[in-house]
């Protein structure tokens, strides 16, 4: 695999304007498959969740999953789409061993939902992403190609197929072309997929786990010269399996295409594969000899004609959408746009909300999740939500601080203990002996000792240089190994030195 020539991003942006397009596939979390009654659980032994229908055995027939149709309409409504009054499934014909019927039941020119939008926030600006269509189809089986260097079918020694995934309902969400994102294009792409994922979660239609493939994203990128008005040839990058990869893939394609165009080359319209490890894309099959899918209306299924009253019922029953919820929480918590955006980017909003619900003050909840815990997650290379600590535990730590039992320094040690699996916050406090020294006698003795040991500082304070008290407080903290209540220590010091704070 040769490393492609790249043009630095800034230079590429000076010379070219990117146009994006995103196609996202979301596996619906229905109990049964799209056209049969097989279960959809992830991770079952291969080919155990199959039947004559999803194996495409001769004579078998599909029956559409009503729940999947409902979920798709709800997604369409949440994306501000129009809902078709009448539409059909269509067959997409092509041969591939992971497709049991050698056609995929999909939708073609009559999608269930069309013409909507999704607003995303990037860099403090709202960007409106147009939604071309939302349609429903069935997933294929999963091929594993064994042998060969590429992990793809060509060159493999043999391939094995797991049909458990065949027939799982899949919703395809296609954006309209997105011009004008300019140098924010990578961030816009990422923000769109992030927002979409949150929307799916809020709707409860999918677990949207990119690593398990229940949310998959294809990224289309083309460049046009600055001042031009004709869009360039686009590439379609597949295998983009994380939010970070979405951003990287867009950036890489911009840099790669810009380098080619700058040398007078031409972009090949093709499918490309993104490689997580190297961050580059490589050529897949060329789309220039476009495959003819010979779409035609699926004769085994009846048209879908959602009653208008039903669509309105679904619309009325939509949950609070993530952007609306964020605005509400921001107001409730009284945080700045910037802090809210930071929490959003860090995927911390749900955690903070749950921590607040468990009794913590919003500012405290945010402080822990975005501070100490974010740092720990970053160190461990895991998502915030995957840290082994619950919002209730964070709320308890916060409560202990608020009541004066812990100070921030001790609280950090408690969090460390919880993350290390030492038990609940109270257990960690108990086992590590982490409690603020608030016994007045003990504290007074420490204060006396520190004053005696720091006569110079004590004199300065007596003479009115209140700021010098900081050194004395530091001394008390040090002598108590961090367990003293710093505020109370300061009060006692000032009192004993005859100054009022």
């Amino acid at each position: 695999m040769t490393t492609p020539t790249l043009m630095p991003f800034d230079e590429a942006m000076e010379r070219y304007e990117p146009v994006l397009g995103l196609e996202t596939h979301v596996e619906l979390g229905t109990a049964s498959k799209m056209f049969c009654g097989c279960p959809t659980a992830f991770g079952a032994p291969p080919n155990t969740q199959v039947c004559p229908v999803c194996l495409g055995l001769p004579g078998s027939l599909p029956v559409a999953n009503a729940k999947a149709i409902e979920s798709t309409i709800r997604i369409g409504l949440a994306l501000n789409c129009s809902i078709a009054e009448w539409c059909r499934f269509a067959r997409k014909n092509y041969f591939y061993p992971d497709m049991p019927k050698n056609f995929q039941i999909s939708q073609y020119d009559e999608p269930l939902c069309f013409d909507g939008y999704l607003d995303v926030e990037v860099d403090g600006k709202t960007v409106r992403i147009g939604i071309e269509r939302v349609h429903l189809e069935e997933d294929t089986g999963k091929s594993t190609h064994v042998g060969g260097s590429t992990g793809r079918i060509h060159g493999a020694d043999y391939s094995i197929v797991d049909y458990n995934r065949a027939g799982i309902p899949l919703v395809e969400i296609v954006t309209k072309p997105i011009p004008g994102a300019d140098r924010l294009a990578p961030e816009v792409a990422r923000a769109y997929v992030t927002e979409l994922r949150e929307l799916m979660r809020a709707l409860g239609v999918s677990d949207v786990r990119m690593e398990e493939g229940s949310l998959r994203c294809d990224v289309n990128v083309s460049l046009m010269p600055r001042g031009g008005d004709e869009w360039g040839t686009r590439t379609e990058t597949k295998n983009v399996n994380s939010l970070r990869s979405v951003e990287r893939a867009v950036r890489h394609e911009i840099e790669r295409q810009a380098a080619i165009l700058a040398e007078g080359g031409r972009i090949v319209q093709e499918t490309r594969h993104f490689h997580e490890d190297t961050g580059i894309t490589t050529s897949g099959r060329s789309k220039e000899e476009a495959q003819d899918y010979r779409y035609f209306p699926e004769p085994d299924l009846v048209p879908i004609a959602p009653a208008r009253e039903w669509v309105e019922e679904l619309r009325a029953a939509l949950p609070e959408l993530p952007s609306v919820r964020r605005r509400r929480l921001q107001a409730e918590w009284g945080v700045s746009d910037l802090d809210m955006a930071a929490m959003h980017n860090a995927d911390a909003i749900d955690l903070v909300e749950a921590t607040v619900a468990a009794g913590a003050a919003p500012a405290d909840a945010r402080k822990w999740w975005m501070g100490e815990l974010a740092r720990r997650a970053n160190e461990a290379g895991t998502a915030l939500a995957d840290l082994p600590i619950t919002p209730a535990e964070v709320a308890r730590v916060s409560e202990l601080v608020a009541s004066g039992s812990l100070n921030d320094k001790l609280a950090r040690q408690v969090l460390e203990g919880v993350l290390a699996g030492e038990g609940s916050p109270d257990e960690v406090v108990e086992r590590r002996g982490l409690k603020v020294v608030s016994d007045e006698g003990e504290l007074a003795a420490l204060v006396d000792q520190v004053i005696a040991e720091n006569a110079d500082a004590a004199d300065k304070v007596r003479n009115g240089k209140i700021a010098a008290a900081g050194a004395l407080v530091g001394g008390v903290m040090k002598a108590s190994r961090g367990k003293a209540d710093a505020a109370r220590a300061r009060e006692l010091i000032l009192q004993k030195l005859g100054v009022s704070g």
């Binding site: 004559p52 001769p58 004579g59 027939l61 029956v63 559409a64 050698n102 035609f296 009846v302």
Partner: protein
């Protein structure tokens, strides 16, 4: 010939239910008859002697246990080898499915079993039901019991031959463009294409999904109605199945009365290309209906002229997609897998070796008709014609209660006579195709022998969607009047057996 094989299905059902004969006796008699005549007619791809006796014994045991039996319990039936059966191979008469044992029963199969019918075997057909003579079977052609040098019609020709040869009183078929009615007509028996969606396609190996319709064969109208009732009705496994009660077909077959009924004669079906003897028998049938009190009137259905070309775009288009699954990956034939060739190469070699010439012709026609740039001109236009044909039917059924026509333009043709001329073969379905395109009900009932060749002629009676009972009512009236005239059924003895 044993007496039991001469009886109607209704009679056999009564005798078994009353205990006068056992289901095992009835089944043995038919198995003996099959053994005797099968070498001549080649109706079966698989005869299941042991399982047939077992099924019959189960019926006898149920009766012995005091259970009340349905009207067809214990009656032998021949099952077209395009319906899946867990206990018998299912091949659709194609090499590509040789030896395949389905892991599930078709809905029709299941309902036959639930009705206590004894499935004695699977019958021959044109490969994947594509043809009008069974000569496209990958295994063997079946022969017409009236004249062994002639075809029994197709695609359900094994079923029509079996029933006409008294091998079984009943058989199943599927009708995509006439595949039940035309074989019934040319073998002198009754064959019904129910309303599309009236009988389940689940487990019927698809040829053209929007046209395929399971239906019954019998030697008389009442038996056909009893079988129709036994396996029809809504099936949640088939999305195109109609969620409505089965029309009262048995009652209509018993009613057998046409007084006051308005009968339309389709103007477009007749004249050039039609055998004179077929037209004469048809004309007499129309006169007979008048004599029985029906009012006949000529009705024009101008779009029917385009039915055949529209059919030969829609059916191959759907077939090109339906047959894509036969790729050697999961079941059936696999050719050329030497551990070196790619999956793609093995698919291509398997399909080249496993499909016969007519199947390949239709896959290619359909692939072409659906390809981008041609879709609108071919598949799209054909769908418009389909709408026009449905409108012609609608307009006609405003005027009349049923329509009539000859079932097929000619009587049974000779084996090999049309195999080199696909168009001539396709013309056999000229009169039957419109009902498949529109989805309405139609039946073929014998109306005499053509004087040129002494071979049977079928009268086709067409009714609106879900008007299946009208087909039976008129067919039964015609049957009754003709049997009175003939002094018994047209088919007393299969002449060449």
């Amino acid at each position: 010939m044993s007496d039991l094989t001469r009886k109607t299905a209704a009679e056999l059902g009564r005798l078994i239910a009353s205990g006068e004969v056992s289901a095992v006796e009835v089944t043995r008699a038919h198995l003996d008859r099959i053994a005797e005549i099968e070498p001549k007619i080649d109706a079966f791809l698989h005869v299941a002697e042991e399982s047939a006796i077992e099924q019959a014994r189960a019926v006898d045991e149920r009766r012995a246990a005091g259970e009340e039996l349905g009207p067809l319990a214990g009656v032998p039936i021949a099952h077209k080898d395009i319906f899946t059966t867990v206990d018998m191979p299912t091949t659709a008469a194609s090499k590509i499915l040789q030896g395949w044992r389905p892991p599930y029963d078709a809905t029709v199969t299941r309902r036959l079993r639930e009705a206590g019918l004894v499935i004695v075997g699977k019958t021959n057909l044109d490969e994947f039901a594509m043809g009008s003579s069974t000569e496209n079977s990958a295994y063997k052609p079946s022969r017409n019991p009236w004249d062994l040098s002639r075809v029994p019609g197709g695609s359900s020709g094994g079923s029509s031959a079996a029933v006409a040869a008294y091998a079984t009183p009943l058989a199943t078929g599927t009708d995509t463009g006439g595949s039940i009615r035309q074989p019934a007509a040319v073998t002198g028996i009754v064959g019904m294409k129910p309303t599309y969606g009236g009988s389940s396609r689940y487990g019927l190996i698809a040829f053209a999904s929007s046209l395929d319709t399971p239906g019954p064969f019998a030697r008389n109208v009442l038996d056909a109605a009893l079988l129709h009732e036994a396996f029809s009705g809504h099936d949640p496994m088939d999305s195109t199945s109609i969620d409505a009660p089965v029309p009262p077909v048995v009652e209509a077959a018993r009613q057998a009365d046409v007084a006051g009924l308005r009968v339309g004669v389709i103007k477009e079906f007749g004249g050039e290309g039609y055998q004179p003897g077929v037209l004469r028998r048809f004309q007499e049938a129309v006169e007979l209906l008048e004599s029985l009190g029906a009012k006949t009137v000529e009705v024009s259905c101008p779009s029917f002229a385009y039915a055949l070309p529209a059919y030969y775009l829609i059916a191959p288009s759907e077939c090109s997609s339906n047959l894509a699954r036969f790729d050697a990956m999961r079941y059936g034939l696999r050719v050329g897998d030497n551990g070196v060739r790619s999956a793609e190469e093995v698919m291509a070699l398997t399909r080249a070796a496993g499909f016969g010439p007519e199947v390949k012709r239709r896959i290619m026609l359909g692939t072409y008709a659906l390809s981008s740039g041609y879709y609108d001109a071919y598949y799209g236009s054909a769908q418009k014609v389909r709408t026009l044909i449905a409108r012609d039917f609608e307009a006609a059924f405003h005027q009349v209660d049923v329509l009539v026509s000859p079932t097929s333009p000619t009587t049974a043709f000779k084996l090999g006579e049309r195999t080199d001329d696909p168009m001539a073969m396709y013309l056999a379905d000229l009169c039957t195709i419109p009902s498949n395109l529109a989805g309405n009900a139609a039946i073929s009932v014998p109306c005499g022998l053509a004087e040129e060749d002494d071979l049977p002629v079928g009268l086709q009676i067409l009714a609106p969607v879900l008007g299946d009972d009208r087909c039976y009512r008129v067919a039964a009236a015609v049957e009754k009047a003709l049997e009175d005239r003939w002094g018994g059924p047209l088919l007393k003895e299969a002449p060449s057996l």
